[in-house]
């Protein structure tokens, strides 16, 4: 048994009388990866906030390397050797990779009172750190030019800067493709080899099972189960997390897709982006598109929704040839696009639920002349959809959606399109940053819609998700469709191979 590097003892915490953490005790041994799982609101972030010194615990203690540890502010915690890799990327796109690494403690030239940056030392120390995480870019590169995976690696490099004893990862893979995630896991295992204690928080239970040595399951602020991960199965974990049995994560389809084509794409090409893409989406079909980040899957969706242009090929919607696509026109055609960047393209973060939900379908509630809104109908309708999707909120008008959890945010975006009467959904990473319970609810809703004849294209990096949900999966690589697999022929290995395409060969 290895030395415990971090210990939590009987931690309690309440907000305004409501207990959010109750008697939390567990140990993070050095050189061990501990998975911390639980639904949103289970108390994971509160616990991490206590660890990082943002919040004080009401009762209980923590020990770091056997010494009692009670940080009062984040800097204290960092100094003691606790590092965090956040879900929300705390990077500054207008600065270089090296500058991002050392933003709070630049190496300085003598005399230090001048605060002049020692650029040589900055460069060499940054290079060294980037090497540690296998990130092969020039430290002078602006962060806005890095891919999401590279950014996540940069975040880790930042965490490693202070030679930490414990590194806590909070949803590190949400914006990563599978190979990028694999790369990340290699690095995390390296940390483990170095004797660092790792806390790994994720909604992706597959990853947790693959990576972690031990798991701790939280529900409503209490530990529901803990131990070596070999002793748990994914269904066990889910049951512990949600407190009820979910027979399976993916609901069964009741109706098969109809034969009628809703979208037909013929030999669509745009130089440098996609090449000769042909496929058909049928009514009531859930069509998955799998592929690596940068395989052209998101770009294809953007073209289909009129956000980007194409120079060859034809698109038919409901049998009619459409040209000069634009989002507005697509919306009129009954299409919806749930984008991968929820904050920038999906939500009006500082607006309320009603304002967000009515964005697409607004005209349907306005009179023909002058567009005067029927506010009562509108609010009723929003409340109906909100109920249907079981969105959790405090005030439907005044609460800004950025204060909602990821799952609820995604439900709002989905609700926006449903309220707008969309019948063809393009869903790009629909469950990114969404916890297990909400994820199940979203799947359920999607399948229900498909059964009612709504067609959808689901783009996801999570192959598990596509396999569970889709009637058919297209595999893309380098802007081309490499394979089209029907449900009965789903084979993970084959699809992965297709996704890697030429890359695997070289």
């Amino acid at each position: 048994m290895t030395q415990p590097v971090l210990e939590f003892g009987h931690i309690d915490k309440s907000f305004f009388g409501a207990k959010v953490l109750k008697n939390i005790s567990f140990v993070v041994p050095s050189g061990t990866i501990v998975g911390l799982v639980g639904e949103n609101g289970a108390g994971k972030s509160t616990l991490m906030n206590i660890l990082s010194g943002i919040l004080p615990a009401d009762a209980g203690w923590m020990k770091l390397n056997g010494i009692s540890f009670a940080p009062h502010r984040p800097s204290e915690s960092a100094l003691a050797g606790i590092a965090h890799v956040h879900q929300e990327l705390n990077l500054f796109p207008n600065l270089s990779a090296a500058e991002n690494l050392f933003i709070a403690d630049f190496p300085k030239q003598r005399p230090e009172s001048l605060s002049l940056i020692d650029r040589g030392s900055l460069q060499s120390r940054a290079t060294e750190l980037l090497k540690q995480v296998n990130l092969d870019v020039d430290p002078g590169t602006l962060v806005e030019k890095l891919s999401p995976g590279q950014k996540q690696l940069l975040e880790i490099a930042k965490a490693l800067k202070g030679d930490p004893l414990v590194v806590a990862f909070d949803e590190p893979t949400t914006s990563l493709t599978q190979p990028e995630a694999d790369q990340l896991f290699i690095i995390i295992r390296q940390l483990k080899e170095q004797g660092i204690g790792v806390i790994y928080i994720s909604h992706n239970l597959g990853d947790v099972m693959r990576l972690c040595d031990q798991v701790v399951v939280l529900r409503d602020g209490e530990i529901q189960g803990a131990g070596d991960s070999e002793n748990f199965t994914i269904p066990d974990l889910i049951q512990l997390m949600v407190g009820r049995e979910l027979e399976t994560l993916f609901p069964e389809r009741r109706n098969a897709p109809q034969d009628e084509a809703v979208i037909q794409m013929h030999s669509l090409s745009q130089p440098g982006v996609v090449h000769d893409v042909t496929f058909t989406l049928r009514r009531g079909e859930i069509l998955g598109i799998s592929g690596l980040m940068g395989s052209g899957r998101t770009e294809l969706a953007r073209i289909l929704f009129g956000l980007d242009s194409y120079n060859q090929g034809q698109i038919l919607v409901e049998g009619e040839v459409v040209s000069a696509l634009a989002p507005r026109k697509c919306v009129d055609l009954g299409m919806a696009f749930l984008t991968e960047d929820r904050k920038l393209e999906g939500l009006l973060p500082s607006a309320g639920i009603v304002e967000n939900m009515t964005l697409v379908g607004l005209e349907r509630f306005g009179s023909r002349f002058l567009g005067v809104l029927k506010r009562a109908t509108l609010k009723d309708k929003v409340e109906e959809v909100v109920r249907e999707l079981s969105v959790d909120y405090r005030n439907i008008e005044l609460q800004s959606v950025q204060t909602l959890s990821g799952g609820n945010q995604q439900k709002v975006v989905l609700g926006k399109w449903l309220l707008g009467g969309s019948r063809i959904l393009l869903l790009d990473e629909p469950t990114r940053g969404v916890d297990v319970g909400a994820r199940y609810e979203i799947y359920e809703k999607l399948v229900e819609l498909a059964d009612e004849g709504v067609s959808m294209i689901v783009i996801s990096s999570d192959l598990e998700e596509l396999v569970g949900l889709c009637d058919r999966i297209l595999v893309m690589s380098r802007g081309e469709i490499r394979a089209s697999v029907d449900r009965q022929d789903f084979d993970r290995k084959e699809m992965l191979q297709a996704a890697f395409g030429e890359e695997r060969l070289t």
Binding site: D105, I117, P271, G272, G294, G296
Partner: protein, 328 residues
């Protein structure tokens, strides 16, 4: 390598601002040969030096997504302080200049206090300062204009190594500002704060102090700009600096600073100021109808902005990530 059409248009877009300058200078050069003399170019720099210096300070503020509307009034208040202390207090000129800088630092610190410590909107805080500083200045001068001794004027007309002092001051300020922005911890952290103040706070940057500092810098730059104006005019008039905030912000933004923070450079601010002054000077030199001045200046700013936004859109298109390399 063959220059393809694509390359030419790309080059043209990348250097669009340069082409604009060349166009403006070329047009005036053809219309009046005396426009192209070295002396006249020095003139342009001398005449825009005050605005350029204040615009550099403004760039610091804009980098944090703030705004400083009070610079024109600070220029006036500082000049009023200097004028009064020399005329009525019989202080030596050097001391008066010191008072100016102290005045600028103080006004900037007050702005900074309310923005950084009280978390108030910079627009409102500096708008208040605009009124308070101008009011105080008018109070001090009793709205009289003051004519200052010759020592002040000599500050503006003396040349070192053939270069007028205001241009030298501008050079010192712009180089210092450039070094601060690119080579110091504060400068780099400034870009971080401007990009995302919450993330900057989490990263351990002292955001309030950074904000405080930019308003103080802006106040100081305003006082230096006031100093140069004062030296050039050898007088304090009650409308000194009035409405200057718009000229200054225009210069900074023409030079590439974003009103939404995180973007901008010191040299850019100077270029923006020089462009506007070049047009004004050029029209003066070709003896254009005075009524047409504002029309032309407005249209050239419009053209510059149009060019810049077109350039950005086109460059973004051209630089879009390529997923596949076309073999054909």
């Amino acid at each position: 390598m063959r220059l393809s059409g694509w390359n030419v248009s790309n080059l043209g877009l990348t250097y669009a601002p340069v082409l604009l300058y060349a166009g403006v200078i070329g047009t005036f050069g053809i219309l009046s040969p005396s426009f192209l003399s070295t002396e006249n170019f020095l003139n342009i720099f001398v005449q825009c030096s005050a605005v350029a210096i204040v615009a550099i300070g403004m760039t610091f503020v804009l980098l944090t997504a703030g705004i400083d509307l009070s610079v024109g009034s600070i220029m006036f208040l500082c000049s009023a302080i200097a004028g009064t202390s020399v005329l009525h207090g019989e202080f030596p000129v050097a001391l008066a200049l010191l008072f100016m800088v102290i005045g600028g630092l103080f006004c900037g610190a007050v702005n900074g206090y309310f923005v950084a410590r009280k978390g108030m909107a910079p627009f409102i805080v500096t708008l208040s300062m605009l009124f308070v500083a101008r009011g105080s200045g008018l109070w001090i001068t009793q709205t009289r204009s003051m004519n200052l001794p010759d020592t002040f004027r000599q500050l503006a007309t003396t040349r070192l190594l053939g270069i007028p002092v205001p241009v030298l001051v501008l050079a010192v300020v712009v180089i210092t500002a450039h070094l601060i922005l690119t080579r110091t911890v504060f400068g780099r952290q400034l870009y971080a704060v401007g990009n995302n103040p919450h993330a900057a706070e989490r990263a351990g940057i002292d955001v309030p102090n950074t904000l405080m500092a930019v308003y103080i810098i802006s106040g100081a730059c305003a006082s230096i700009g006031g100093m140069i104006t004062l030296a050039q005019l050898a007088a304090v008039s009650p409308n000194l600096g009035q409405g200057r905030e718009l000229d200054v912000i225009a210069a900074a933004v023409l030079g590439g600073a974003s009103l939404f923070g995180g973007r901008g450079t010191a040299f850019g601010a100077v270029l923006g100021a020089v462009l506007v002054e070049t047009v004004r000077n050029g029209m003066n030199v070709i003896d254009a109808d005075p009524y047409v001045y504002p029309v032309i200046i407005g249209l050239i700013i419009f053209a510059a902005v149009l060019l810049d936004s077109t350039r950005h859109r086109q460059l973004a298109k051209l630089r879009r990530r390529k997923i596949r390399t076309e073999t054909s």
